[in-house]
């Protein structure tokens, strides 16, 4: 509850300051594109854009394809180009597929920012990400290792087999397991299955996992859709398997309270949207170019520095990962 209060207070503070100053984003229109419509995670992201819009005075539109496909996103981006937006903030379903259409937008003078899931370096001006992939991957691994007491079999239930974010995180998890670290010596990693970000598919795959590995101790679910499905399956089966992963608090409250998950994680998508809109406005105004080493003032989030990402482009890390436990989950239920 404290966190919410703090958030509200800072917000009011910023708002009151902003009320006197001339708003920086007046007259700017931003097109926000997310991965898929009807996804609560992106609803939270849009809330971040709304907050920033109140502070900066810009206007924004948001949309995501019905089926979570890249060509659907291309369609939406082209519509935004036709409408003449000033900046695009895109959470890409595929980093490579959107490059051409993004470059077309940039030729038309539109600034392109990717948030949450990147567009490849040659197609964007800036990428805004919650934390580096390594941090995200290893945090989840450490959490599950703690939950199961340092030994036993673990598995991963991922999203689509083609999901770039998830695959990157999993590769870092596997790397950590193979690094020969003492912590992971008694952990046996049995493999990854893919739930396709579909509830039933995740459910069935988990069922098969549980039957195939009677000694399974822990499951990592690095996707918000899979989390509740995996937990529900374990609950129905009555097995003592611990879960961790990236999940929404509202989805997981039931299962965290039931003790199936000790701790799950998620960055705050509201902050992600918030930071993206600050970066977008600054880029459009021209007082910020998104070059590596530059710093940008992101309202209540303070000053953030642009670093070089592993694909050679520039990237902005928030480096904040919230954890939901029995004690903290209630405070987050209404937000995420």
């Amino acid at each position: 509850m404290k966190k919410v209060l703090a958030l509200v207070l800072t917000l009011m503070l910023v708002l009151s300051v902003a009320a006197f100053a001339e708003k920086a984003g007046e007259g700017i229109t931003i097109g926000v594109v997310y991965k898929q419509s009807g996804n609560a995670y992106f609803q939270a992201g849009v809330t971040g854009f709304e907050q920033a819009a109140e502070e900066l005075g810009f206007e924004f539109m948001h949309d995501g394809p019905d089926d979570g496909s890249s060509d659907g996103q291309i369609r939406i981006i082209e519509n935004y180009i036709a409408q003449g937006v000033d900046a695009l903030c895109i959470s890409a379903n595929d980093p490579a597929a959107l490059v051409d259409v993004c470059n077309e937008a940039r030729e038309a003078g539109i600034k392109v920012i990717s948030w949450d899931a990147k567009v490849d370096a040659e197609g964007r001006d800036l990428d805004v990400e919650p934390a580096s992939a390594q941090v995200i991957g290893v945090t989840q691994l450490d959490s599950i290792v703690n939950s199961i007491g340092g030994e036993g079999q673990i598995a991963i239930v991922s999203a689509m087999a083609t999901a770039p974010n998830q695959n990157l995180w999993i590769s870092f998890i596997e790397e950590a397991l193979n690094s020969g670290d003492e912590k992971y010596a008694n952990i046996e990693y049995v493999g990854t299955v893919y739930g396709d970000d579909e509830y039933t598919k995740s459910f069935n795959e988990t069922q098969a996992l549980l039957e195939k590995y009677p000694d399974l101790k822990g499951i990592i679910v690095p996707t918000t859709v899979g989390g509740p499905a995996v937990c529900k399956c374990i609950q129905d089966a009555g097995r003592d398997v611990k879960v961790t992963g990236l999940t929404l608090a509202s989805d997981m409250k039931e299962f965290i309270d039931a003790g199936i998950a000790d701790e799950t994680f998620l960055w705050n998508p509201i902050e992600l949207g918030y930071a993206s809109s600050y970066a977008a406005v600054a880029l459009v105004k021209g007082d910020f170019t998104g070059a590596v080493g530059e710093k940008i003032e992101c309202g209540e989030l303070g000053e953030l520095e642009v670093t070089e990402s592993d694909d050679g482009g520039s990237i902005l890390f928030l480096n904040k990962l919230n954890s939901f436990t029995k004690d903290t989950v209630d405070a987050w239920v209404d937000i995420l």
């Binding site: 419509s37 539109m61 060509d71 082209e78 003449g84 597929a97």
Partner: protein, 364 residues
């Protein structure tokens, strides 16, 4: 005079009216939004709309293939999956043949494109073979199974990764996504190519005996068979052509998605193709429809999706809703009109007979 009259009664004319009305509505909305200050510059004008038709003409080639299938009274829901498999073949073959050459190799691209088209045709051939040999089964069921098969096979080939190509040769496929400059207008390259193909299909389907046989099969397959037409053979080749067209769509799709290849693309494209063909006058019962109608309906869907998305701020999911409504109405309205006409005819005849009877009665 007779010709003009029959044109005015035709489905194509109705589609043109529909398109015109829609354009008018969008144009007025555009102007009023500018007047109200909601939007800074006009969105809905010819050049802008034409430019924005690009994503909606991607599946136009698939629609041409689907037309053939629907005209025969069959249906093929595996076309999207065929496109995926052919595109994946394109990527994999290119990687193998070019062997990582620095600037890529044009020969490899040609071989890969041929392989892509070949695989598309072969997939179509498999469908055609099964449909003609197992007549007890509805084509929908067969193509449902082959769809899963093709899609799964694509996954087997490249798994979950995205194949990206950085070399300029393969990148040249992106040219398929470019805008041609014709007389100050920016025209998506797929439109002229589609028009050429559509003209070819028009003459084939509506002007040659061979093409008319396809419609004859749809009207009454048994009668057509007994009049000496080799029904199975024509069916088989139509499925092959549909597969080929899916592969063509796939190549354009690669151009559209920045020359990258993935195993989960073009899911649901069969529905777009079916929707466009049905609005164009084709029916799953077979035997009717025209290339011109299908072409106009492609434009209609493009304009509706563009207009609702940009001017009315409809989210992507609600745009599908409008597709659903248009589809139902496009079949329901003509049926109702026909019903009313029949009713009137019956009523008139009844009135006439009643009058005659009355006259006869009074004469007696």
């Amino acid at each position: 005079m007779q010709k003009v009259k029959s044109f005015l009664k035709s489905w194509e004319f109705f589609l043109i009216i529909l398109l015109a009305v829609m354009c008018l509505v969008f144009k007025i909305t555009d102007a009023s939004r500018i007047a109200a200050g909601v939007q800074k510059k006009p969105i809905f004008y010819f050049a802008n709309v034409l430019k924005s038709m690009r994503p909606y003409f991607l599946y136009s080639f698939m629609t041409l293939g689907m037309m053939l299938i629907l005209a025969m009274g069959d249906i093929d829901i595996s076309v999207g999956a065929i496109g995926t498999l052919s595109v994946v073949t394109l990527g994999v073959t290119y990687n193998r043949v070019a062997n990582g050459a620095e600037n890529g190799s044009p020969a490899a691209l040609i071989i890969a494109l041929l392989a892509c088209l070949l695989v598309g045709s072969l997939c179509g051939a498999l469908n055609g073979f099964l449909v003609t040999r197992f007549k007890e089964l509805f084509p929908m069921i067969i193509t449902l199974a082959t769809q899963l098969f093709f899609r799964g096979f694509s996954y087997l080939l490249i798994g979950g990764e995205t194949l990206t190509f950085k070399d300029p040769t393969f990148k040249s496929l992106s040219n398929l996504n470019q805008l041609l400059k014709i007389g100050g207008l920016q025209v998506p390259i797929s439109i002229p190519i589609y028009l050429v193909l559509a003209v070819f299909f028009y003459f084939w389907l509506h002007r040659t005996g061979n093409g008319r046989k396809i419609f004859a099969i749809g009207t009454n397959a048994a009668a057509t068979y007994y009049s000496g037409v080799r029904v199975d053979r024509i069916k088989f080749w139509c499925f092959v052509i549909a597969g080929f067209m899916s592969a063509v769509t796939g190549i354009f799709f690669v151009g559209n998605s920045s020359s990258s290849v993935k195993a989960d693309i073009m899911d649901g494209y069969h529905m777009y193709a079916i929707a466009a063909a049905v609005l164009g006058g084709f029916s799953t019962d077979g035997g009717k429809g025209s290339v011109i109608g299908a072409t106009i309906s492609l434009v209609i869907f493009g304009v509706v999706k563009f207009g609702l998305g940009t001017l009315f701020g409809f989210p992507d999911s609600a745009v599908n809703l409008s597709v659903g409504v248009i589809l139902i109405l496009s079949v329901l309205v003509p049926n109702l009109v026909e019903d009313i006409q029949n009713h009137r005819k019956v009523a008139r005849r009844r009135a006439e007979t009643a009058k005659l009877n009355a006259a006869a009665g009074s004469a007696r």
